[in-house]
Symmetry: C2
Subunit: 175 residues, 2 copies
């Protein structure tokens, strides 16, 4: 029922112990900010032209990160299986967002890349997200921004120390 997702480690640590000696207030505050930030991030695709479903947008972003990749690679990146991905590519191709071409080296492989229209869509999405984040940052004083960047850097390093992600470029899917 649930969608497949890339496994990182052999066993899930999620069911593990409590938060150790970290005060609950801190955890709650971090959770709240994560939610707010996700809201901010996810709304950047509102009103994109042409309107693209969240799933298709995710595929466009994945392809954009790699430039060119084969269908199996895209499937893995999306946490889906090849057959689903093939169908998704059917729709993306019909929408004019991607191009499929067979590889010269191994003619079994299908190389997927963004069309010009796909590139424009991706650029616009990136632009909007940066603008949204920038708007919030602009409301903070330079000193606050400095503290934020330091704190977030530490937090990010701790995240990656705990769990080195496959491709960290996750998109906050739409709320």
């Amino acid at each position: 029922m649930t969608q497949r997702r890339p496994r990182l480690s052999a066993e899930e640590p999620a069911g593990g112990g409590p938060a150790g000696d970290v005060p609950g207030d801190v955890t709650t505050a971090v959770e709240r900010v994560l939610s707010t930030a996700a809201l901010l991030w996810s709304r950047a695709d509102q009103g994109l032209e042409p309107a693209v479903s969240p799933i298709q947008l995710r595929a466009v972003e994945a392809i954009s990160r790699f430039g060119r990749l084969n269908l199996g690679g895209l499937a893995e990146e999306l946490g889906a299986i090849p057959s689903s991905t093939s169908r998704l590519c059917d729709r993306l191709e019909a929408a004019g967002l991607i191009v499929r071409e067979s590889a010269q080296a191994d003619r079994r492989e299908i190389i997927v890349r963004l069309s010009d229209q796909g590139e424009r869509l991706q650029a616009e999405l990136t632009r909007r997200r940066r603008a949204a984040v920038g708007e919030v940052l602009a409301l903070m004083s330079p000193a606050s921004r400095g503290r934020l960047i330091d704190a977030l850097t530490e937090f990010g390093m701790a995240c990656e120390r705990r769990q080195p992600g496959p491709s960290s470029a996750v998109d906050f899917r739409s709320a």
Copy 2:
């Protein structure tokens, strides 16, 4: 094609101007941390028992936030229309996660609430998310945590100053 979502303001500001005078590095760094944090958050539903699709999980969370609400309210909360939500509730009810009962005050309304099993699922999800955030925080020194909490509080306030969300309890949908 895209899913409907609650509109916050009459006009989208996303297409607006650049990030003002905020250095691009800061914006990029914030983006990167947001992505990492989203990954962390979204993986908390891995291996939940029973396995529930991201969509259904989102509905469970929404219902949990309100305790009881009518179908239209749930639809609005999910950014969907009543007909889709009605179908979703069919599946949630079949899965034993929710209960539908007609309201006494107005017999047109259908009140939706979590079943005991739904409550347990929601509690487990919350527990896992807190554990995941807590694990990362535990890797930071108390001083770092203090700086983080201050910085995130400022950032969160700036977010809400820019755009007061409807229900800020957004879930980072699965990566």
